[in-house]
């Protein structure tokens, strides 16, 4: 159940990614419409983060190619924003909350230039949007997990991009904050921004997203929520994961089966 769109903001063609010899994403082919809040769902190890990372050029694809706004990544970097997983950095780093949010403006500043008053004001606005303005002078080592996550979201907002890719931005964030941030993201999509969020919780996903991508090593579904949020597709995404894996390895053993071609 894969819906392709005309004039996509992001298109992924035949993407296969593998770490060492084992593939983590198989033959993903999808296109995404602009101005939508898009959720990426799937069990652990389904390749959700890998999908985001390969769009951002952080993971080299084994095959396939990706177009953003119809162009290669390098020419549109300033229009894309990225929220990595919180665990990807060491929060003991000597920086204040404002310092980290300011990093979001570095891409537009370019080499050698220092952030000035304009960048600081923008960063404070972004902190306000995630409810962290009172903490701007706090050292990041003194934040809780949920607060760190909000700082990362604020940094992404400071990038002032058109496409946002967020890797589990709600891990460790309390319900009230999650709702508030989802509302904020919703407002951003109304302004024409596109937001792709890797998400864990199926229930809240059903409430908030307009479009869903369901992954489990291969692409199970990509389409408007109303069409793809069926029990059958969810079961295909989440259920019988072990079953699926054993079936695949059996197939490979039995025949000269090449999953990359099918």
């Amino acid at each position: 159940m894969i819906t392709q769109v005309a004039n996509p903001i992001l298109e992924i063609h035949d993407l296969t990614v593998s770490y060492d010899q084992s593939p983590v994403l198989w033959n993903v082919d999808l296109s995404l419409p602009p101005g939508q809040l898009i959720g990426v769902l799937g069990p652990n190890g389904a390749g959700k983060s890998t999908l985001i990372k390969s769009v951002m050029g952080l993971v080299p694809p084994t095959s396939g190619h990706i177009l953003i706004f119809g162009k290669e990544l390098n020419s549109v970097r300033s229009k894309i924003s990225y929220v990595p997983q919180r665990e990807s950095v060491d929060w003991n780093f000597p920086a204040s909350v404002l310092d980290v949010v300011l990093m979001g403006t570095y891409g537009k500043l370019g080499l050698f230039k220092r952030p000035g008053k304009k960048e600081k004001e923008l960063s404070m606005e972004c902190l306000e949007k995630v409810g962290m303005q009172a903490f701007f002078n706090r050292q990041i080592s003194e934040l809780s997990g949920g607060q760190q996550q909000r700082v990362f979201i604020a940094r992404a907002l400071a990038q002032e991009a058109d496409l946002y890719l967020m890797d589990e931005p709600f891990a460790g964030v309390d319900m009230a904050t999650e709702t508030a941030i989802f509302q904020l993201l919703k407002e951003m999509t109304q302004e024409g921004k596109t937001i792709v969020v890797v998400h864990h919780d199926i229930h809240s996903a059903m409430n908030y997203f307009d479009w869903l991508i369901m992954l489990n090593l291969h692409l199970v579904a990509s389409g408007p929520k109303n069409e793809v949020a069926t029990e059958e597709l969810l079961r295909k995404t989440y259920g019988g994961k072990l079953n699926l894996l054993s079936k695949v390895s059996e197939l490979i053993r039995q025949t000269d089966f090449n999953p990359l071609k099918s």
Binding site: Y82, D90, F93, P94, A95, Y106, L111, Q139, T177
Partner: protein, 299 residues
Amino acid sequence: MMSFDPNAFLIISTASLIAISCGLLGVFMMLRKMSMTGDAISHAVLPGIVIGFFISGSQRGLEVIIGAGILGILATLMIDWFRKKAKVQLDASIGITFTLLFAIGIILINVLAYKVDLDQECVLYGEIAYLPIDLWITGSGMNLGPRITWLAVLNLILVLGFIVSLFKELSLTSFDEGFSLVIGLPAGAINLALMSMVSYTTVSSFEAVGAILVVALLVVPPATAFLWTKKLIPLIKITAGLGVIISIIGYYFAYWLDSSIAGMMVSVSGVIFLASAILKSKKPNFKFGTKIADKPFSI
């Protein structure tokens, strides 16, 4: 009361300059969790020094610094390659790289010994006490003062210029390399530039403090300062201040015991680190109870 001794002043100020240069770079090495890469670089530059020395015929030549710089970058690339491509752990790949390059350096010294007036002792230990008699005399015979002090001044100016102009990039790539790649900052190039500065600083300092003790100046003052502050700018300032303090105390202790000045500087910095670590581990937590509650918010 000790009278003003111009030699003491020269040695202390040169040692301070070197300690500050090393400390400033050391802060970023520590934040990148690459302090031991600094160690590796300081040893791995040996073959570069020998080859540069062999080509230029003097240890003052630009070739020496270029040779060392190339070897420093080579060491960084080798460590990276072993880790990423050959899947060797970081500590093991550091160990393999710098011992290999250092060993090549020793063999080169032995092979070229009859042509090169350079011995391991000089490279490994240095001697800052000879500084006042090693003068920079121009072609016309003008005496411009101690050569090593000039080298240290130049080194500090370049290190300062490097850090000031790339401060934003250095801190971002140290904190979140992935994000810096995403926004299009050349993280790899900035990393190599930092490693080149470390190589150059090592070479510029080795005559004074030697390749082994220069590592301590890269690692210990930043680590000590990090015990006292969690902010980047104060961290850099305390590191620089510590560089001056260990130079002063180190000099007078060495004078008093008639021992190696560089050795005493490093011992002093070690003692300061130890004292800081003990003090910090016993410090009561005054902040407890004043934490701002993490309230959810609404729009």
